[in-house]
């Protein structure tokens, strides 16, 4: 029992670290941004990394000192005060925020270290770290905000930084197009988010998390207001977290440097949508219709992306589709009401997906920019550390115990089995496909013989230690990270769930009671999942090592293979349905509205002014007598006016 003064003292001690957490990356951004060109390149990378490390230390300090049932409110200033609408700018730090902050700052710090090695020699070295620090700042703002508007600032900010970083090598037009695509699709989602916020403001009068939850509880379950708000917010989440239909930007975003893909498109930005839904778990629990939609979209995305990932040949694109698929699993978990399971999978996914991306970056670095796996092979002899860590990551994502992915995925699958058997079936099939294509990637990249050019072969070298140390750390986390959430079936208490229970309990009583599985059924599910994964791995091994199949060249594909390889032609579909009509419409507006109406109007004004000028200048006749006449006339008029008025 903590008495009140102790609590107040503890809270006041934690406020300063709380405010410092987003401040360090901002300072790093300002130093690198303003003075970067005067500082030597060896320092700028370290400035950026140390600032993130400082944030991590502050976060860790708060993590160890804040009990899991309380939360820290930091109100900075009253931002918008207009009649009865008061929106303040403040931070809310509770267990959910701390989980996200630990992931962002911890994985972010490792990726910063890695980037010092990966981007070495690039002429935009300082600019890269500037953008990275800005991104970390905005992401922290997103998760630390105490109301939806501060979250939206971070939401937009990470979208901006994503654009800047994807188009980092801006001299290439294709990369710029990819950056624009990411930003625009994000923006479409943001429109949904904004509309959701407007509805919230209109109906509840506030954007504060606690106020919204309180007022939402007064409405009846499933009321149309709540369904509308939650659906609109979910549209924003689909844009940010790459779900159907706004997912096509994520594979194209692989045009950015690999650390960017690791940080933004694996560990942090794309998880913003999931964070948002877990944060709003009360209003989502009160709108079961939306939760069904979330589950359906998540499951569909998971399966769809997994199928596409089976046939991709670019090492980063496989990982991109894998990310989309895993995000689908997380959304499916949220849709069936397992909020803490979704968060748990988010954390473990951050570990092994960042590891996989960084590992692929290491491979690309070793091969001097080659990304096509058809030209790789047999690399395990040359780059051992990369190989071992990459293998650990692949095993983790396939769900083999006791690695991290097993615990989180198994938890989701068991909740899915309780809820809806069809969802469980589709998720299990996608997990098998995940295991298959991940190990396809491993076998084709690291096993058999090298299939590239002789010149590349002589240059293969292991990455420097500044790149391999983050790999090793992430690999360790992928191995032991799952133990924070060991389910009760093994006899331990679920630490993770207990930790964030203060956030998720609010919705627990609103969810319909699931049939609690008895332990034997859970064991059956676990064994089934593990066996399925191992079967997929063995089939991949059979196909690619024993039969030594190689993926075919692009032109020789046909039929269903071709459709899958071309990503089900979704991009082309969007192009013809949305992009082309927009272009036609804008051309129409150009001719009809711009040239005819607006130009006419503006030119008419200019013509009238000219007309006045041409007529009035005739007054200047140069004749002095006329001028005197005019003066006398003017005086008479003035007198008359004065007389009349």
């Amino acid at each position: 029992m903590v008495n009140v003064t102790d609590q107040i003292l503890r809270d006041s001690l934690l406020i300063t670290p709380g405010m410092l957490i987003p401040l360090f990356p901002l300072i790093g951004f300002l130093i690198n941004g303003l003075f970067g060109k005067y500082l030597p390149k060896s320092i700028t990378g370290w400035i950026a990394s140390v600032s993130v490390l400082a944030s991590f230390i502050c976060t860790f300090y708060i993590f160890t000192n804040l009990p899991s049932t309380s939360s820290l409110h930091i109100d900075l200033f009253n931002w918008i005060a207009y009649s009865n609408m008061n929106i303040g700018f403040g931070f809310l730090i509770d267990p959910l925020t701390l989980v996200m902050l630990l992931v962002i700052s911890g994985v972010g710090f490792l990726i910063h270290l890695y980037s010092i090695g990966y981007m070495h020699g690039d002429e935009g070295f300082t600019r890269f770290f500037t953008h990275l620090n800005l991104f970390i700042f905005f992401m922290m703002l997103l998760v630390m905000g105490s109301n939806y508007l501060v979250m939206f600032i971070g939401w937009e900010g990470v979208g901006l930084c994503s654009y800047l970083l994807i188009g980092f090598w801006f001299k290439n037009d294709a990369y710029n197009d990819a950056a624009k695509k990411a930003f625009i699709m994000n923006r479409i989602g943001d429109l949904g988010f904004l509309l959701g916020m407007f509805l919230m403001l209109f109906n509840f009068g506030s954007l504060d998390y606690s106020v919204v939850a309180q007022k939402a509880l007064l409405l009846q379950v499933g009321s149309s207001v709540l369904v509308a708000i939650t659906l609109l917010l979910f549209v924003g989440a689909t844009g940010k977290s790459a779900q159907i239909p706004l997912y096509t930007w994520l594979p194209d975003a692989m045009a950015g440097p690999t650390p960017v893909s690791a940080l933004i498109h694996a560990a942090t930005m794309v998880t913003a949508g999931i964070y948002m839904i877990v944060r709003s778990n009360v209003i989502y629990a009160l709108a079961p219709f939306t939760l069904e939609i979330v589950a359906i979209v998540g499951v569909a995305t998971c399966l769809f992306a997994a199928i596409i990932g089976l046939m991709q040949n670019d090492i980063k694109k496989v990982l991109a589709y894998s990310t989309v698929s895993q995000l689908g699993i997380m959304f499916a978990a949220l849709g069936i009401g397992a909020f803490s399971s979704g968060m748990f999978h988010l954390v473990t996914h951050a570990f092994f997906k960042a590891l996989l991306f960084l590992g692929s970056g290491s491979v690309i670095h070793a091969l001097h920019g080659e990304q096509d796996i058809r030209k790789m092979g047999g690399l395990r002899k040359y780059i051992k550390i990369t190989f071992i860590t990459f293998l650990i990551g692949a095993v983790a994502i396939s769900g083999i115990p006791p690695f991290a992915g097993f615990f989180s995925k198994d938890e989701i699958l068991s909740h899915a089995f309780e809820n809806n058997k069809i969802i469980w079936a589709i998720l299990s099939i996608s997990s098998m496909m995940t295991a298959f294509y991940m190990f396809r990637l491993v076998y084709l990249t690291f096993f058999n013989d090298f299939r590239g050019t002789e010149e590349t072969k002589t240059h293969i070298h292991e990455s420097p230690s500044i790149m391999t140390i983050p790999l090793i750390i992430l690999a360790t986390l992928s191995i032991i990270g799952g133990f924070i959430g060991v389910p009760s079936v093994f006899g331990f208490t679920h630490q993770f769930q207990a930790y964030i229970s203060s956030v998720t309990d609010a919705s627990k009583e609103l969810m319909k009671e699931n049939i609690e599985l008895n332990h034997s059924m859970e064991w059956v599910l676990i064994v089934t999942a593990v066996v399925a994964a191992i079967v997929s791995i063995l089939y991949a091994r059979f196909k690619y090592i024993i039969k030594k199949e190689q993926p075919s060249e692009d032109v020789t594909l046909s039929g269903f293979d071709k459709v899958v390889y071309n990503k089900f032609y979704v991009d082309e579909l969007y192009d013809s349905i949305i992009v082309k009509p927009l272009k036609v419409l804008s051309d129409l507006f150009l001719v009809l509205v711009d040239k005819l109406i607006i130009d006419l109007f503006v030119n008419a004004i200019a013509w009238i002014v000219g007309l006045f000028g041409r007529t009035l200048r005739l007054v200047q006749s140069g004749n002095t007598g006329f001028y005197v006449f005019a003066m006398v006339f003017g005086i008479i008029v003035l007198f008359v006016i004065r007389l009349l008025i």
């Binding site: 007598g625 006449f629 006398v632 006339f633 005086i635 008479i636 007198f639 008359v640 004065r642 007389l643």
Partner: protein, 164 residues
Amino acid sequence: MSQYLFFTLSILTIISALYVVFSRNPMYSVLSLIVCFFTIAGHYILLNAQFLAIVHIIVYAGAIMVLFLFTVMLLNLNKETEPHKTNWIKIAAVIAAGMLFLTLIASLKSTQLGTYHLPYRTTIGLVQNIGEKLFTDFLLPFEISSILFMSAMVGAVMLAKKDN
């Protein structure tokens, strides 16, 4: 008696002013303007502004009109070289001036002239009183007018000089 004086002087003033405007020969215009100035000086004496009347004659009739005469004679203007405006412009001029007169009268009609305390002070126009006023209240304009004169002299000389 003073009323008769007023009427006589006024009629003379008006006739000479009209002659200034309507005469063909510029020499006659100048001469009738001199007559007009003399009559106005007479008005000044009627109004107890003795000093001003003398100064008026000295400055205007003695200096300014002499200047005008010199210029007219220098430029050798006479009846033949005088340009004339067309008839309808002359009519328009008369009408314009007449309209101005009417408007002024109309706006003066409803004015209230100030009520002054009687009896009238008749010594305000004497030299000592004017001098006192000039050197106490109006000292600054007095000094600046000397600068004005100097600049006018310099300007006139510079403008009228022949360029070599």
